[in-house]
């Protein structure tokens, strides 16, 4: 195992120190460290953060390996500064059994670039009819703690209630894709002034908010743990604030694209901007940023959703929803949260590493813990970021198998220079090591 001596890095953007990584852990943190055996990484001017943790990706394997594989998605994740990613269950076959989640988990281990943490489906086949064997997935080698029918909403209130209750037995959490399906039939974009003009069927904010309102009441009633995926509206932030104030065990995530982009992007009818939930208004974007800043929204999660060219290079209505996110997530957070002063680097680390790891119950796994602070004795999961670097996003240069980046041609700040997973470099000089 390589020993690394990282010199001159600024943990959380604070005073520069050296970090010695050995045997998978951060062995020492301090000024003027030296180690004859160590490979030196000059991190002068770079910010060090704990390895990022993503609660929400679609790695498409098994089933759509033409769009992404666990390996290519893992590489994109490492290049984005992540050391752990949750892989959503809407694969083919659906990850609704111990067998499938273990397969995904093994593929992640083989790729060895990030910890791939499978999410288990809440219901059999994501059909919203009866519970999948949640306990078997929890007890499997994949050790599933996050359960989600993402892509579909668990819209049946009785089923949602039972899921929230049942997962308490193994400290699980139900991650809800909040979308009342009867209110979003055929929906293509945010319902408002622009959908009216563009003639695209509207996806009303109320369809998200109605489910969140219902689910926080259910979670409060049964004492279960609810996580709300990709919160997209100002009203949702209000509801979450209210529920948290009442002591409901609810957490929430926001995607980078909902922090940066608005429904204005639909004007071109370019489906690269089609996503579910849809891009909302400027007022929503500001409410989401504020919610993330004050902690009402706990985490940034990418909802990285690779799609093959033919599924995006089409009419808007025919295209699949979803966009890439892993490699630009940190840059978007730097632009939308750090640079305006809404979060400092400690805040960024909290929302992109510590809190998502806590939600996924990844922080107490000993040497395999994620989301731990940068301190001696902790697992050596960390990322080195050059905050001064700015570059224009080129989809062709991304590690993902797909090219559906909504940031194409956009200049964004920040560059991931190096990522370490348990002391081993997965990214050096901005390039994946394998």
């Amino acid at each position: 195992m390589t020993t690394y001596l990282i010199t001159g890095a600024r943990p959380y953007g604070e005073a520069a120190v050296d970090l010695l990584l050995a045997d998978g852990r951060i062995a020492e943190v301090g000024a003027g460290l030296s180690s004859a055996a160590a490979e030196v990484v000059d991190a002068g001017g770079l910010v060090a953060l704990p390895g990022l943790v993503d609660l929400h990706t679609h790695l498409r394997e098994p089933g759509r390996e033409d769009a992404e594989t666990v390996e290519t998605g893992s590489r994109a994740a490492a290049l984005g500064g992540f050391t752990a990613v949750h892989a959503m269950a809407n694969t083919d076959p659906v990850a609704d059994t111990a067998g499938v989640v273990e397969q995904v988990w093994r593929l992640g281990t083989q790729a060895g670039l990030v910890d791939v943490v499978p999410v288990g489906a809440v219901t059999v086949g994501l059909r919203g009819e009866r519970l999948a064997e949640l306990g078997a997935m929890a007890d499997s080698a994949a050790r599933v703690r996050v359960f989600s029918d993402d892509g579909s909403c668990v819209s049946d209130p009785a089923l949602m209630r039972r899921a929230l209750e049942y997962v308490k037995a193994f400290d699980g959490v139900v991650a809800q894709h909040a979308e009342e399906p009867r209110l979003t039939a055929g929906a293509q974009m945010h319902e408002g002034d622009r959908s009216a003009r563009l003639g695209l069927t509207g996806w009303p904010a109320a369809a998200e908010e109605a489910i969140i309102a219902r689910d926080v009441l259910l979670a409060g009633h049964v004492g279960g743990r609810l996580h709300v995926c990709h919160v997209s509206t100002a009203g949702s932030v209000e509801l979450l604030r209210w529920a948290k104030g009442r002591g409901v065990q609810v957490t929430a995530e926001v995607t980078p694209h909902h922090l940066l982009l608005t429904d204005e992007c639909a004007e071109t009818y370019d489906p690269v901007f089609k996503v579910n939930p849809p891009l909302r208004t400027t007022a929503d974007v500001h409410a989401l940023r504020e919610g993330l800043a004050d902690g009402t929204i706990d985490a940034v999660a990418t909802d990285h959703a690779p799609h093959a060219v033919e599924d995006k290079e089409s009419e808007w209505a025919q295209a699949r929803p979803g966009m890439l996110g892993l490699q630009q997530a940190l840059s978007v957070v730097v632009q939308t949260m750090l640079e305006p002063g809404l979060l400092d680097w400690r805040g960024v680390a909290d929302r992109m590493s510590a809190r998502p790891a806590a939600i996924g119950r990844l922080a107490g796994l000993g040497a395999r813990s994620q989301g731990r602070p940068l301190a001696a004795g902790q697992p050596a999961n960390l990322v080195l970021v050059d905050p001064a670097h700015r570059s224009v996003v080129d989809p062709a240069a991304l590690a993902s198998r797909s090219r559906n980046s909504p940031y194409a041609g956009r200049e964004l700040p920040g560059r991931v220079v190096a990522t370490f997973l348990r002391g081993e470099a997965t990214v050096l000089d901005g390039k994946a090591v394998k």
Partner: protein, 307 residues
């Protein structure tokens, strides 16, 4: 003029007036001629790319192109490679390779002509996309109003019916506003889009209140099946509240006209005696459609003085 005609907003007041004036010139030039043909677009190729069945619109464009001496290719999505899964982009590149100068496209997906316009070098004319726009319909409607009433500025137009799902309404709202008309939308609230407040129009739920103050009443087609999704309780109730029948027509000003883009649901949004009355411009609209589409093709392909 811009290279494409995708939506009413592509036309500023000068462009829109130029199209109407050109249509009028064409009408004059062809009036009384036995061979209704101009040599203007000889050697140019116009493709009618229709993903939706619309015989009347396709024939109108076909006639327009042929009267300008263009070569016309009708490319129907039904029974072609398109129905076998060929993408819009591949179809576009194929037509491009065949040397099409203009593609007239009708598609069930809003925005399909905008996508097409990014993939081809020639002009794209939107012949109706989903629930978005149908700009040549709005042009022919404006042309019809101007011929009947002599002006557009200040003309009070009521557009009545299923605005939510109507590309005709969207194009008319944009174009009539550009040309200085005053538009009032009349519909049950369920058939108006959320966001209609940002449109340059007045909105009313009460047809009887609007009719006496209208110079033009434009009735939109309403599908009775909308009642299955609770947009209104029944066809009968819709017709009673928003249908234009003879008693309602009687309250209109003397020179007010009644329009309909067709095809009509007689007895639903419009009564037979209204459709067949002297106020009705419905047949005239069809004829004007050919002239306006000739003007559009001529200006986009041949007669653009700024090209």
């Amino acid at each position: 003029m811009k290279r494409h005609l995708l939506e009413a907003a592509d036309l500023d007041r000068g462009d829109a007036t130029l199209v109407l004036d050109t249509a009028a010139q064409i009408d004059t030039a062809l009036a009384g001629r036995e061979v209704k043909k101009l040599p203007t677009l000889r050697g140019r190729t116009v493709v009618n790319l229709f993903y939706e069945d619309s015989t009347r619109t396709r024939i109108s464009f076909e006639l327009a192109a042929k009267r300008l001496s263009a070569d016309v290719i009708n490319f129907s999505a039904k029974g072609s490679s398109v129905s076998k899964g060929e993408s819009l982009k591949d179809t576009a590149l194929t037509l491009e390779a065949m040397g099409s100068d203009a593609i007239v496209v009708r598609h069930s997906a809003s925005g399909a002509p905008h996508r097409l316009a990014r993939w081809v070098r020639g002009s794209v004319v939107n012949a109706g996309d989903g629930t978005h726009e149908h700009p040549t319909q709005a042009l022919l409607d404006a042309y019809t109003i101007r011929r009947r009433l002599g002006r557009l500025e200040g003309v009070r137009v009521a557009i009545v019916g299923d605005v939510l799902h109507s590309r005709v309404a969207r194009s008319n709202v944009g174009l009539l506003h550009t040309l200085g008309a005053e538009v009032t939308l009349v519909a049950p609230p369920t058939l108006l889009p959320v966001g209609v407040g940002s449109w340059p129009v007045s909105v009313s739920y009460d047809l009887d209140a609007v009719l006496p103050k209208s110079d033009v009443v434009m009735m939109l087609r309403v599908q009775a099946e909308r009642m299955n999704a609770s947009f209104f309780p029944s066809a009968r109730e819709y017709s009673r509240r928003y249908g234009l029948d003879a008693p309602r027509m009687a309250v209109l000003a003397d020179d007010a006209i009644v329009m309909h883009p067709g095809p009509m649901n007689r007895g639903m949004e419009i009564a037979a005696e209204v459709a067949d009355s002297v106020r009705s411009t419905i047949v005239e609209q069809v004829g004007n459609g050919v002239s306006v589409r000739m003007a559009v093709l001529y200006l986009l392909l041949g007669g653009n003085p700024t090209a």
